[in-house]
Point group: C2
DNA sequence: TATTGTTATACTCTATAACTATA
DNA sequence: TATAGTTATAGAGTATAACAATA
């Protein structure tokens, strides 16, 4: 257990990546050799023609719709930040949650979640309480106002997704659902960290 | 042209949404009537069973991988913020760019892009210049150091996408590519704002 | 001792409003 | 007058380090 403090959500980012926390910037400075004439390695952690193609497609999409913040419009409409929206969405979906777990879901550290919950509490969207089982833990839950906002935001997200789906042919929508379900199945088999 | 100042990147978020800048929070406070027994409208801006299903699937995915910042790992590895990564990626992909256009690509305002480019300039990753045609415009471009970093980041993204693709069966990868290509075609036909 | 949160500090992001320079 | 950027200013996000309370 070498990890010094906490950086809980980061490993989640790696999906099925390497074991723990190596790779210290030693990504072969720059240039060519890794590109053409793949060495006889099993290329565990290399890009592939397909990954480059996907990369290309995503960049094309980015010319129509900014990739940085998919929730931008919703944030604007509700005068909330992306982090706040994510916090509300997870609390709405999961119910009362330890703030540490909430941090993990959102992808921030425990140091940061404190301030986020502080501000949501000031807005009367969230309440703090203590866990009776483990008196160290702080549980965050939505207030009635927060719950109502959660429903409204949730519907906005639905509408946004509907506009995305409108860009797809019915067969492509089917493909997408099937594809996502199989990814979830695979993730469920290979890990045990989902709720 | 009612728009007071600038908020350029926001409309891009709306994809094929409504005309311009309406919808002033009048989303029927909360509760029921909009849900069941759809009125005889063409429900232009409503959620659908399919959009709700997609919503559900995305939340499931979020339990395995934080949805808030897909570039988190790359940001960490390179000690850069998401905004900075996006700026470098667009400059690397598009070459020298007006900072206003860059702001649009990233999805931030012109006020914000100034500081972002400032900091990238201090890091010697980006240089500023004037456009000879329109002397008001500032052009940002990568330095050699920035170019090298761009290539490194680009490869990291490829590797990340490769790990995502590894979760898909070959047929699903095919579906995904086809689906994205058709979305891009459709976007290309319905708009003229991509490069 | 280890874990859960919080506090203090510092830097980045972000938008708003007021401004400069060019068109 | 309109447009492209910049300069304050202020609030939010973020990580690091040091700390308090509980386990």
């Amino acid at each position: 257990m070498r990890r010094p403090d906490d950086k809980p959500a980061l490993r989640v980012q790696r999906l099925a990546a390497d074991s723990d926390g190596e790779l210290e910037h030693d990504l072969t400075e720059e240039g060519g050799p890794a590109e053409e004439g793949l060495p006889p390695e099993v290329d565990e952690d290399t890009s592939t023609p397909e990954s480059r193609k996907l990369h290309e497609l995503i960049i094309q999409l980015g010319r129509y719709r900014s990739l940085r913040d998919p929730l931008h419009g919703i944030c604007e409409d509700n005068q909330l930040t992306p982090t706040q929206i994510h916090a509300l969405m997870w609390l709405g979906n999961d119910g009362p949650t330890h703030v540490g777990v909430l941090a993990q879901r959102i992808g921030i550290t425990k140091k940061t979640i404190t301030g986020v919950v502080d501000r949501l509490e000031h807005m009367n969207l969230v309440e703090r309480g203590r866990d009776a089982e483990d008196r160290r833990a702080v549980v965050a839950r939505l207030t009635d106002k927060g719950q109502a906002l959660f429903h409204r935001i949730s519907r906005s997200v639905d509408q946004g997704l509907r506009r995305v789906l409108d860009l797809l042919e019915p067969e492509d929508r089917e493909s997408l659902f099937g594809l996502l379900e199989r990814v979830l199945q695979r993730l469920g088999r290979s890990t045990a960290q989902a709720v």
